[in-house]
């Protein structure tokens, strides 16, 4: 997988702290974002890895 670009802004994504919300709790995590329009990219490895783990932890609280 080569580097991701925002199609509209034609900018390479950069890692940026992004806010997440689940079951009433807030977090921040660095994920690739467009430096111009802040479009976020959640790769499959993150969605089905760390994010899925945290989702499960929160659901079990």
């Amino acid at each position: 997988m080569s580097e991701q670009k925002c199609f509209r802004c034609d900018k390479l994504l950069v890692d940026k702290k992004t806010a997440f919300l689940y079951l009433g709790r807030n977090f921040t995590h660095e994920v690739p974002c467009c430096p111009k329009c802040n479009k976020v990219y959640i790769p499959m490895s993150l969605a089905e890895g760390r994010i899925a783990d945290v989702e499960r932890e929160l659901e079990d609280k």
Binding site: S2, Q4, L21, E55, E59
Partner: protein, 746 residues
């Protein structure tokens, strides 16, 4: 929620309650614990258990009348009871550390007189002395033992009494006969234990066996004088020491109420427990160590594990039914982050199949308890939307776009209303079309495509259920209040429970009784797999078998009926691992191919490559369905059923609602197709995501020309990676979802 609202579901549970032998023992000796230690040769620990219960372990091992043996679980197998008294004898011989415990309690001021140094008086005196009361024992004889003094083994009895009193301070006054209770005026309490036929000071007629009290305010009584055997008189001594605490402090005797009554419940036998003959001692003096250990191992440690033995979910979470009830309540009170919900995963991992109730000797339904919890969580908005989102969206589709109803084409009054349920036509449209043709040939039959509300039920959404039932009731009235015909046991079960006014009959019963049906022979040998929701539905179970037999199949009954295939309760998202375990276990319950009558069961067994067929393929002579219908195919099938039936019945053309993304053509590998099916992602969501990305340019692109985009739904966010093909189709390379929502800065 009040604590008792949850506790009432499991209040009769006997798991962990005293075994029948312990209940029969006046001393409540925990025989399960004692034999578990003895079996391992842990004699010192076993001795402590024995002494705590019996006060005088050696005496108990010599004289106990062994009431436990009358209630031994072994007898249910036809074996002799476990020889507890002989094991006790070996324990007394083998325990190296028998030194009595010295209790570091402050001295109490209460002074208590015990009349009689027989076993009853000694047991009371020792228990009182251990509580640090000032105890004086009077006996007219020159030493202790009372009626035991002539016993041939009095030397051992005497040694035990000496040993147990070694660390307790009791004032023994021998050769002092109490002629009148007035002689004991200075004592706070008096315990009369003068033995069989002894002096009762005229109080025996007023004796209360529960409180041991008499008509004289501070005078109590026990032992052989009151007709008790050895074990019971020691138990009275222990009881008297408890009563003394309340009497000394308040002047009133209060009964101890900490005993658990197991009532008439008998622990069910473990099916695979082998019989075992009682070990006979090789020595006159009793068991050798090896013999005692072997005999202790014969104890079955009776406890009720029936629900655990039947249920993968209960085994996985390892919580006792009463603990589950407590957590149902505790979770309703939890306030994160101060306190946590501890039961959530388990609540949504239950198939709610009712099998625990079937296997429970006292009919406890843990599924009903967890269903109650689901409904409470929904009401209190502490449910987790992602766990049931897929099925609730499916229900929206089944009760919306795919739903319709129609009166018989003739315009005559309805005799029946065919309600195939949401899954039958989705998995195989011919099942609905052909069954409906059969019903129309038989009598005036209306049609109603809808959903019984199972997804809302299992999500705990009572309001959505109520709305759905309201609509069903209205349609029923419009179609002449005719009898519903069900192909799905879940529909029939929920209607019976929530719409009892609507009469209903299983489709299979009408087929089994009809000459119009000539079932096709698919299997020579087969087993009918009854769905969990058909429990108690004898009409459905027997008519499916009748059709199968008419087809020429020889049926082998499975070892268990009405086990859930895994789909019940919609647990697949909450606990995918458990779901897979259950589906595998059910697929391997029987070696012969399965005949099923639930579309979900069929889907589960096809996913496990278990040779299975729907009874309608047999009844209607249809090709044997061997391939699962995928999510998007199920939607298309449901719409096709509607299109065909509306066309047939009304001559109208049904035009489904279309979206701009419907025309998008997706291409993907079979591996990816299986993967998105596993993740419960529909083609519709992928198409919409791609269409929006292409329409707005709101997408990512990499150096290989692969685009990535996301679609936020109410509960989940879907992602897909795709390439645009020369043909204009879209090659899907990835599809996944997450529940957490990210906040895109503006």
């Amino acid at each position: 929620m009040r604590k008792e609202d949850a506790a009432i579901f499991t209040e009769k549970c006997i798991k962990g309650a005293p075994a029948a032998c312990m209940d029969a023992c006046p001393l409540m000796l925990d025989i399960r614990a004692f034999t578990a230690l003895a079996e391992k040769g842990k004699w010192n620990a076993a001795y402590r258990v024995l002494r705590n219960a019996t006060v005088f372990p050696a005496i108990a091992s010599i004289l106990c009348p062994s009431a436990c043996e009358t209630s031994c679980g072994r007898k249910q197998l036809g074996d002799d009871a476990v020889a507890i008294r002989l094991i006790e004898g070996a324990c007394v011989q083998l325990a190296k550390n028998q030194k009595p415990q010295a209790f570091a309690l402050p001295q109490k001021t209460g002074q208590i007189a015990v009349i009689g140094a027989g076993l009853a008086g000694l047991a009371a005196a020792l228990c009182l002395a251990q509580k640090k009361y000032l105890v004086t024992v009077f006996d007219k004889n020159s030493g202790w033992g009372g009626s035991l003094r002539p016993h041939p083994r009095f030397a051992e009895i005497n040694a035990d009494i000496e040993l147990q009193f070694a660390t307790s301070d009791v004032d023994f006054r021998y050769n002092e006969e109490i002629a009148s209770l007035g002689d004991l005026a200075g004592y706070d309490m008096v315990y009369i234990a003068t033995g069989a036929g002894g002096n009762d000071f005229g109080l025996l007629p007023s004796w209360d066996p529960k409180l041991l009290a008499t008509s004289a305010h501070n005078v109590f009584m026990g032992g052989s004088l009151t007709g008790m055997d050895v074990a019971a008189k020691i138990a009275q001594g222990k009881l008297f020491s408890k009563i003394s605490d309340s009497f000394i402090q308040t002047g009133r005797a209060l009964a101890a109420s900490d005993d658990i009554d197991i009532g008439d419940a008998i622990y069910p036998l473990q099916a695979d427990t082998p019989r075992a003959a009682r070990i006979e001692p090789s020595m006159l003096s009793g068991y050798s160590e090896a013999e005692a250990k072997e005999e202790a191992a014969r104890c079955m440690k009776c406890d009720c594990d029936n629900c655990f033995e039947q249920c993968e979910m209960l085994v996985l979470y390892r919580k006792k039914p009463k603990s589950i009830a407590l957590e149902v309540y505790a979770d309703s009170q939890a306030e994160p982050p101060m306190s946590s919900h501890t039961l959530t995963r388990q609540v949504y991992s239950c198939n709610i199949c009712g099998n625990c109730k079937v296997s429970c000797p006292v009919d406890i339904d843990i599924g009903a308890l967890l269903q109650f919890s689901r409904e409470t969580r929904y009401e209190e908005s502490i449910y987790i939307g992602a766990l049931h989102d897929y099925w609730l969206r499916e229900m929206d589709f089944s009760t919306g776009e795919a739903s319709f109803y129609a009166a018989p084409k003739s315009g005559k009054t309805c005799r029946y209303i065919f309600f195939p349920g949401c899954q039958l036509g989705a998995h195989n449209p011919e099942h609905v079309i052909r069954s409906y043709e059969f019903l129309q040939d038989m009598d005036e039959t209306g049609f109603f495509a809808g959903c019984c509300g199972a997804p809302a039920y299992w999500a705990g959404d009572k309001e959505r259920m109520r709305e759905n039932f309201e609509r069903i009731r209205n349609v029923w009235h419009e179609l002449d209040c005719a009898e519903f015909v069900f192909a799905c046991a879940t529909c029939e079960s929920l209607f019976s429970q929530f719409l009892p006014e609507i009469p209903h009959v299983p489709l299979y019963e009408l087929m089994a009784n009809s000459y119009a049906i000539s079932p096709g022979n698919i299997y020579e040998f087969a087993s009918v797999f009854d769905p969990c929701s058909a429990y108690g539905n004898a009409a459905m179970e027997s008519s499916v078998r009748a059709i199968a037999v008419q087809s020429g199949a020889t049926l082998y009954e499975l070892p268990e009926k009405n086990r859930c295939c895994g789909n019940g309760g919609h647990i697949r998202v909450a606990d995918p691992g458990l779901y897979n375990t259950i589906t595998r276990n059910r697929a391997s319950m029987g070696e012969a191919p399965y005949i099923v009558y639930c579309s979900n069961c069929l889907d589960v067994f096809l996913s496990q490559n278990k040779d299975s067929v729907h009874i309608l393929d047999i009844a209607l002579n249809l090709p044997h369905q061997t391939v699962r219908s995928k999510i998007h195919e199920r939607h298309e099938n449901a719409i096709n059923v509607k299109r065909r039936l509306i066309g047939n019945m009304n001559g109208e053309e049904f035009v489904p609602t279309t979206n701009e993304w419907d025309a998008i053509e997706l291409v993907m590998s079979s591996t990816l197709a299986d993967s998105i099916e596993e993740k419960l992602i529909s083609h519709g969501d992928i198409k919409e995501a791609i269409w929006r990305a292409e329409a707005t340019g709101d997408k990512l692109v990499d150096g290989f020309g692969v685009f990535r985009c996301s679609l936020e739904r109410e509960v989940l966010t879907y992602w897909t990676a795709y390439k645009v093909m020369e043909s204009g189709a879209f090659e899907v390379l990835e599809a996944y979802s997450h529940r957490m929502r990210f906040i895109r800065e503006s």
